[in-house]
C-alpha cells in the first residue's frame, strides 16, 4: 500500500514505530499530487518546500520521542483558513494576492502538534456554492467521475481525500459545505455544533452559521481532527467555553437500544431512487445492529432553504463589506474618487455568485424590507430550532439523506441559482439550528457515485453521532472503496 493511501491513524501507527518518516509520507503525497492534480484541480496553492521543511522538523520531534497523533501527518486546508505567510485567496480574485499576517486558530492548533501543511484547497468563492464551480480558479472535479462536481463549497477538501492527495483536511460548513462534498466524494465530513470550534482566522461568510470541521477518510480520523481543533478560543467570542470530550473514546461499535429519528418530511416520494435505496439499506443495517427507529416530524423543514438564503446572504453582505480595496486585496486601477474605488474594486474582484448573494442580502436588510425578509427569516429560524429541540426529546440522533441526488454534472445547475440552492434542503436546517451533523459513506449509485448518510446530533452531542457513524462504518466498509484515479 502506498503511503498516501494510509488513513491518519494508520500513518500515525507507522510513524510511531519508525517504519516510515514524515518526509517519506509527505513526499508520497507530493508525488501523488503531481500525478493526479492535473485531472482533479483540488488545490489553489501547493507548498512543497514548506511541507518538506515541516516534515523534517516533525521527524526530528519524533526521533526525540515527542510524537502525538498529528505529528508528521500531511494535511491540507480549504483556502478559507488564514495561513500566516502563505497565500490565502478564499478562491476569489479579490484576494488573489493576499498573504495573511496571522494563522487561523484551528490551523495553529494542528501546526503546534506537528501537522505538515501541503497546500491550500479549492472551494466555491467565499464559501458560496454547492458545487465548487464558482471558484475564481476554475472548478474542482469529482475523482469518481471527472465530468461531475465534487460538491461545495469544500469541494477541494473532499476531492483531496477521495483522490488520496493528503491524509486529512479541514473544511468549513455554513449550509452543508462539508457534509455535501463529503457525500458526493465518498468520505467522512463533520459540521460540529456552532461554537465548538473557533472561527478566528476563518474568512467569514455568515457569522451565525459558519463552522470549521474535518473532511477525512474515516470516522476515526474525523474524531482525531475534531479533538485537535475543538475548544474555547478567547479570540473568537462565539466559541463556547465547554470542555472538549475525548472524541476517540466515542469510537465504539455499538448502537443497541439507541433511538434514531426519521423525519417524515425527508422521506417524501420523489426522492432519487439511488438515494432512497441508500436510506433503506442504512435503516436496515441500523435495525440489524439493534437500534430502534422513531418517526419524528420537523414541520418547518420546508422553510429552511428560504430562511437560510435570507439570513446567510444578509450576514454575507455585511461580512464582505470589508473588501473595498483599502487595506488589502484587489483595488481597481481606474479610480475616480473614493466611492467609485469601492464600487469598481468590488465589481472587478467578486464573481457572479458572490455578487448575487451580496445583492440579496443587502436588499433583505434594507430600509423598508428588513422586517419582511431578514427579521421574518430569523423568526422562522426559531421555529426550526424548536422542531429539533422537540425531536431530540424522544431520540438520540436523527438520520436523513445528505443531498437529494448523487453528484450532478459540471455546468448542470450553474445557470439556475434557485435549483442549486434547493439542493441544500437536507443540510441547511442543521446550520440554522446550530447543532452538529455528519456525512458518512452509505452506498454507491447505479452509476458508481458515492451517496452519503447524514447523522444529526443534539447540540454538543458529537460523541453520539461519532459512535453511530463508527458503528455503521464498521458494519458496512463503504469507506474502503477507492476512486480509480
Amino acid at each position: 500500500m502506498e503511503l498516501y493511501e494510509l488513513t491518519l491513524h494508520e500513518l500515525h501507527g507507522k510513524l510511531k514505530k519508525r517504519e516510515v518518516s514524515s518526509v517519506e509520507a509527505t513526499k508520497a503525497c507530493l508525488d501523488r499530487i503531481g500525478a493526479v492534480e492535473g485531472k482533479v484541480r483540488a488545490f489553489i496553492t501547493v507548498t512543497p518546500d514548506e511541507a518538506l521543511k515541516s516534515a523534517a522538523e516533525a521527524d526530528r520531534r519524533i526521533a526525540a520521542g515527542d510524537i502525538d497523533i498529528l505529528t508528521g501527518i500531511p494535511i491540507a486546508l480549504k483556502d478559507i483558513f488564514l495561513t500566516k505567510g502563505i497565500l490565502t485567496t478564499c478562491a476569489s480574485k479579490i484576494l488573489a494576492n493576499f498573504i495573511p499576517p496571522y494563522d487561523a486558530t484551528s490551523w495553529k492548533r494542528l501546526k503546534e502538534r506537528g501537522a505538515v501543511l501541503v497546500g491550500k484547497l479549492n472551494q466555491d468563492e467565499f464559501a458560496m456554492g454547492s458545487s465548487c464551480e464558482s471558484s475564481h480558479f476554475g472548478p474542482t472535479r469529482n475523482p469518481w467521475d471527472l465530468e461531475r462536481i465534487p460538491g461545495g463549497s469544500s469541494g477541494g477538501s473532499a476531492t483531496a481525500i477521495a483522490a488520496r492527495l493528503v491524509t486529512a483536511t479541514l473544511g468549513t460548513d455554513t449550509g452543508g459545505s462539508i457534509r455535501q462534498p463529503a457525500s458526493h466524494c465518498g468520505c467522512v465530513g463533520l459540521k460540529p455544533t456552532y461554537g465548538r470550534v473557533s472561527r478566528y482566522g476563518v474568512i467569514a461568510y455568515a457569522s451565525s452559521l459558519d463552522q470549521v470541521g474535518p473532511v477525512t477518510r474515516d470516522v476515526t480520523d474525523c474524531a482525531v481532527m475534531l479533538g485537535a481543533v475543538a475548544g474555547y478560543d478567547p479570540c473568537d467570542s462565539t466559541s463556547v467555553n465547554l470542555p472538549v470530550p475525548d472524541y476517540a473514546g466515542a469510537l465504539v461499535s455499538d448502537v443497541k437500544g439507541m433511538k434514531i429519528g426519521l423525519p417524515k418530511e425527508c422521506f417524501i416520494s420523489g426522492l432519487d431512487p439511488d438515494v432512497q435505496q441508500a436510506m433503506d439499506e442504512a435503516i436496515a443495517v441500523y435495525k440489524e445492529l439493534g437500534a430502534q427507529f422513531v418517526e419524528i416530524s420537523l414541520p418547518t423543514l420546508d422553510y429552511a432553504v428560504a430562511a437560510y438564503y435570507l439570513i446567510a446572504t444578509a450576514e454575507a453582505s455585511s461580512n464582505l463589506a470589508r473588501y473595498d480595496g483599502v487595506r488589502f486585496g484587489h483595488r481597481t486601477e481606474k479610480t475616480q474618487g473614493l466611492i467609485d474605488m469601492f464600487k469598481k474594486s468590488r465589481a472587478e474582484g467578486f464573481g457572479v455568485e458572490v455578487k448575487r448573494r451580496i445583492m440579496l442580502g443587502t436588499y433583505a436588510l434594507s430600509s423598508g424590507y428588513y422586517d419582511a425578509y431578514y427579521l421574518k427569516a430569523q423568526k422562522v429560524r426559531t421555529l426550526i430550532m424548536h422542531d429539533f429541540i422537540r425531536a431530540f426529546e424522544n431520540v438520540d440522533f436523527i438520520i436523513t439523506p445528505v443531498a437529494p441526488t448523487p453528484a450532478f454534472k459540471i455546468g448542470e445547475k450553474i445557470n439556475d441559482p434557485l435549483q442549486m440552492y434547493l439542493s441544500d434542503i437536507f443540510t441547511i436546517p442543521i446550520n440554522l439550528a446550530g447543532t452538529c451533523g455528519m456525512s458518512v459513506p452509505a452506498r454507491f449509485s447505479s452509476e458508481g457515485l458515492p451517496i452519503g448518510l447524514q447523522l444529526i446530533g443534539k447540540p454538543f452531542g458529537e460523541e453520539t453521532i461519532i459512535r453511530a457513524a463508527y458503528t455503521f462504518e464498521q458494519a458496512t466498509e463503504w469507506h474502503k472503496r477507492k476512486a480509480q484515479i
Binding site: P101, Y102, Y303, T382
Partner: protein, 95 residues
C-alpha cells in the same frame, strides 16, 4: 414582480457594486425568482415568535480591559494596495 430594475440599481449602490447592464438585467430576473420563492415564509404565523440571531445561548463575551500588543504597523500594511508614511493611501475622502 417582486423587484424592479430600478430597485436593483438602488441595491447595487448600497452594496457598492458597479454592476454592468447585463449583470443588472440578470440579477433583476434571478432576484425576482428567489424573492418569490422566499415569500413562502409568509405561510408561517410568526407573530408570537422571538427572532434567533445566535444559535447557541450565550451572553456578554467580555474580556478584561487590559492593553495587549496589537498586530503592528508593518504587518497591518503588508497587503496594502497603496501606502504612504505608515498609513493606507486612498482617494480623497472629503471633497
Amino acid at each position: 414582480m417582486k423587484i424592479t430594475r430600478k430597485e436593483v440599481e438602488h441595491v447595487a449602490g448600497l452594496a457598492r457594486l458597479d454592476l454592468s447592464e447585463e449583470e443588472m438585467d440578470l440579477f433583476t430576473g434571478q432576484m425576482d425568482a428567489i424573492l418569490a420563492y422566499v415569500d413562502k415564509l409568509n405561510e408561517l404565523d410568526t407573530s408570537a415568535v422571538i427572532p434567533t440571531a445566535h444559535a447557541v445561548p450565550m451572553e456578554n463575551a467580555f474580556r478584561d480591559d487590559e492593553e495587549r500588543p496589537s498586530i503592528g504597523v508593518e504587518d497591518a500594511l503588508a497587503n496594502a494596495p497603496e501606502r504612504a508614511e505608515g498609513f493606507f493611501r486612498v482617494p480623497k475622502v472629503i471633497e
